[in-house]
Symmetry: C2
Subunit: 323 residues, 2 copies
């Protein structure tokens, strides 16, 4: 453990109280000027530490950034986030970083997080608004032993995990919109971007990206009516790190259930959380567009739509708008 | 056009005849010592050019390497191999190089060829014997506008193209073994490795690798009984560049048919070329193994097997051994 981490640990133990520089210096075994230097480093990482010439130092707020140490503290998983966690203040896209690392051989469970993205992406190359420190931008590397045509199952695992996380930690009314949007009051609060690299019969790696609006006080005009954030809904800032830990825990749990018991239990839970079945929708695909009522989502995750003429359509993927 | 290419063009026009250094010097407009330097460069590229102090130079054999200029000459395609062709004397794997270029945005039709591979790969990480200059190791970048679950269709397109190429240029009895091996007398002469990078509903890029044993005079002991080469079958060396051109032409043709008319015409042609339907086989998959008779390959490219008890199995992918 580094000197800085030991100092942080001690400040956390005494959180809210003042600790003299002299005491810290003795406890950590470094000079008072080294204490001061490490306090500066911690402040750069976003920890709010007050100082007073007479009273010493006091940690008044934990960093709001998704620092690897903070994520690991109290993380209740076996593999996800247990190995390397790579943290950026800013990157183009956490999915792009994750893919690079996966190509280099990064193992399952490697996590990439960033405070902001300059090219945050949604499905089909659409952009995902990723302002500094307001949201969660996290990509997880997976190496499931499954054929590529089963990859959409992981999107269901992820949607269930993200929705349950918000239900567990907030009082928000959360629903999953097929295939992979997380809504609060019909506005998007989180999105999932799953990407795979595969041979015909085996997945090489998979990157599961989560974008979630957490502490955004407002959203740009063009997405304001379609999107929301935890802050907008509750009026309170929420610690992002708690969300990430809870999300990783559930993600790992459902990933194991999928491996051990198949897709059925995942789909069952997904159906409890979705708002899409029974709805009247327009669904747009490449070169096609159907209007109708959603009958079901079948065992392969395919949406079954009954159009106005009574014909049934199996929709593998597309953009859904509620009518 | 570079001086070297102009010199080569002139030597090709006079192939087999002697051309004096003085004449070349006048025609190309460079000094005789510059002629000499460029002759050296061409020899390094594998062109056999004889020289005589009295008679000058004579091109006696075109390079046997897959040089971009040679591939382009007489290439009858619109897109495949029309843009960049990247040639290596040696690389780890042309598929790996192609994936790197695809990530950087290389367009559809970009071709990567190598004279040898240090880590030539087949399906599921198996190695593909790739000795220097004996075989074709070629990877093509595609960006089809199709969902990832239709990607196996491209493997069928490729198998048909590779099999037809051998049928058109040689007298060999060629057959496709499901899903994507090209056999001559039940020995493997070519293999296909298709890899995709995709979001859930769209393919980002696809890399189609072809490995073909062409001028190998013999094969290593461990694959000798299962593999063969054009040289082993015919006793003659074959110009690799002709194969690549013919393959690209057919590959593009069937790729367009797939886009414009769907999978049905591809599958129909594939069935004319396969030896697998009606055969008694063992098929091995991850954790499973079936023995039975192949009934058909269906509209999704799935193999339909009837086992000894009369039960039918749909095999999406696996390793087939004829019994």
């Amino acid at each position: 453990m580094s000197t800085k981490d030991r100092l942080l640990g001690y400040l956390k133990e005494c959180k809210g109280d003042w600790v003299s520089g002299e005491l810290l210096s003795r406890r950590i075994g470094i000079t008072r000027s080294a204490i001061w230097k490490n306090i500066s480093k911690l402040r750069e990482e976003g920890y709010v530490i007050e100082s007073s010439p007479r009273k010493g130092y006091s940690l008044s707020r934990i960093s709001e950034m998704l620092l690897p140490n903070e994520i690991r503290e109290g993380l209740d998983t076996g593999v996800f986030g247990r190995g390397e966690i790579i943290h950026f203040r800013e990157t183009d896209s956490t999915n792009a970083r994750a893919k690079e690392l996966a190509i280099q051989g990064a193992p399952e469970g490697t996590l990439i997080v960033s405070e902001s993205q300059t090219k945050g992406r949604g499905r089909k190359g659409r952009s995902w608004f990723s302002p500094s420190e307001a949201g969660i931008y996290a990509s997880l590397i997976l190496r499931p032993n499954m054929p590529p045509n089963e990859a959409p199952r992981i999107t269901f695992v992820t949607a269930v995990s993200a929705a349950e996380t918000l239900l567990a930690l907030t009082s928000l009314e959360v629903a999953i919109k097929w295939p992979n949007d997380i809504l609060v009051k019909n506005r998007k609060i989180a999105g999932i971007l799953t990407e795979i690299s595969a041979e015909m019969d085996t997945i090489d790696y998979m990157v599961v990206g989560l974008g979630m609006n957490v502490n955004n006080p407002l959203l740009p005009d063009d997405i304001e009516e379609k999107a929301t954030s935890i802050f907008i809904e509750t009026g309170k800032r929420f610690p992002k790190v708690r969300i990430v830990r809870e999300y990783l825990r559930r993600q790992e749990k459902y990933y194991r259930i999928l491996r051990d018991s198949g897709f059925e239990p995942i789909l069952r839970r997904w159906k409890e959380l979705t708002n899409t079945i029974g709805k009247r929708i327009v669904v747009e695909m490449i070169g096609k567009r159907y209007t109708g009522v959603v009958q079901d989502v079948d065992q392969e995750g395919v949406l079954i739509l009954k159009d106005e003429k009574g014909a049934f359509h199996r929709i593998l993927s597309g953009d859904v708008t509620f009518m």
